[in-house]
Amino acid sequence: MNTWIKRIFFILVIAFLYVPILVLAVYSFTDASNIGEALRFSGHNYVTLFTTEDLTGMIIGTVILALVSAAIATILGTAGAIGAFYSRRRIAASMDAMNRIPVVNADVVTGFSLCILLVVVFGASKDSFFPLVAGHVTLCAPFVYLSVLPKLKQMDPSIYEAALDLGATPAAALFRIVIPQIVSGIVSGFALAITLSLDDYFIATYTKPATFDTISTYVVNATKGAQTNIKTALWALSTVIFAIVVIIVIAANIRSARQARTFSDTYRERAGI
């Protein structure tokens, strides 16, 4: 393939992914109520975003829900992965199999089936937030499990045994030997859980209290309602989230670049180069 064709194709793909977000970002700083209108700078969308109780409430609610469900999912999933790793084959295999279901299943089906079990069969009240949190933990915990398990497999088992031989209790050996070795899996599992919970629409729709909204459910309802000042305030929200993502990505890249450097430095020192 010609280099120029390759480049143009690649740029078109990136443009396809970014143009809508960037157009919205530009218009979020204007007083326009539709894309395509004349550009006149205005910060009113950001004022609306941060002062309308409805909007701030649902943003804070979404973040709290993500933090709480990700924390529960991380504890459950990590403990589950450790348990499965040291269990007999058959038990581990059945856990793996059940763990796969929410991963491959459509979120609509997961949300709907949880709603039937918890709300219709057992009569749990959606207003208690229990079905919603349970739903989000069900969505997230399998991914924590999947990101912790490979780290356990990479671990050197003799270190744990050495700790026991040197007199550590199994619990102490777990917290001081095993956990530190799998911590990177736990952290990425937690981060993954947060992003999954923040992005979810379907499980929330089927399990949330009627008066509570997450960002997704709010945005979907707002696009139907078409209240102009709310609609354009959501452009500002999209831009704020985009800015946060960019900052996190740059920070993570700088950190990992620094880590890579120190790693290669230690490597050089050891090798005596």
Partner: protein
């Protein structure tokens, strides 16, 4: 009680039984019972004899197949170009491709909708096209990433050997690169196909009023018709099950690549 590492798995095991296995069992029971709790096949027969629901099934399949093919046609060259380029900043470019996915999908679809409304005037004129475009916009990185992963791990010496043995560029691509990247294609297809059969919000937001399978569950849910809704959920489960059976061991890394796509 003595501390045991195995015992750590018990809470999650119980959790999976209660929140994963039990809901599926309930779906099966509800799909084949009526409001009085008696066995009935009405929902099952109803689905396969009603032209409306059958039409919905066909429309979802059409949307899902076209979206998957479009994603594949865009994603494969993108992944291929990136994997074979000699630029150093591959990780950065990969990050640029993944980054939009961290913005809430409803906001991304809103962005697409606003831009499309300007370009098309009225979104209602091109419902099928807009839906495929919206789903491609939303799911494309899920297709690019697994394909890129398999392509970047490809052993270059195989291609050199092929060239030494006289294979042209085209034939070494068809006989070596393509078969070896099949696992990536399969995980990408899995991650695009099923959501495009069920993510009815993208249709709703782009003013496509035709139903797909997911919208049926949504409308039965709004009507409190748990039994008919369960039947749709069960049919979707069967489709998902068939799909995993069909793709077999090749999808083993589907979950990992979904995780990889998001992190």
């Amino acid at each position: 009680m003595k501390f045991s590492r195995k015992a750590l798995g018990i809470p999650y095991y119980i959790f999976l039984l209660v929140f994963v296995a039990a809901p599926l069992a309930v779906i099966i029971v509800y799909a084949f019972t009526n409001g009085q709790g008696h066995f009935t096949a009405v929902n099952f027969i109803g689905f396969f004899t009603d032209p409306n629901t059958l039409g919905t099934l066909c429309y979802s399949l059409a949307i899902a197949i076209v979206t998957t093919v479009v994603c594949l046609l865009i994603a494969y060259p993108t992944a291929y170009i990136l994997a074979n380029s000699n630029i150093k900043a591959k990780a950065v470019i990969l990050m640029i491709i993944i980054m939009p996915m961290w913005i809430n999908f409803s906001l991304r679809v809103t962005a697409l909708k606003e831009v499309l409304s300007v370009l098309e005037g009225n979104l209602a004129f091109y419902p099928f096209f807009n839906t495929v475009l919206g789903m491609t916009y939303d799911f494309l990185p899920f297709m690019i990433l697994p394909i890129y992963n398999t392509l970047s791990k490809l052993d270059g010496s195989l291609l050199e050997a092929a060239a030494d043995l006289g294979a042209g560029k085209a034939s070494s691509f068809i006989k070596i690169t393509l078969p070896l990247s099949l696992p990536g294609i399969v995980s990408g297809v899995t991650m695009v196909f099923l959501p495009s059969m069920t993510n009815y919000v993208i249709l709703d937001m782009l003013y496509n009023s035709t139903y797909i399978m997911g919208s049926l569950i949504g409308s039965y849910f709004s009507a409190n018709n748990w039994h008919a809704g369960s039947m749709i959920a069960l049919i979707l489960l069967l489709i998902i099950g068939l799909f995993s059976l069909f793709t077999g061991s090749l999808t083993d890394d589907a979950a990992e690549s979904k995780g990889g796509a998001l992190l």
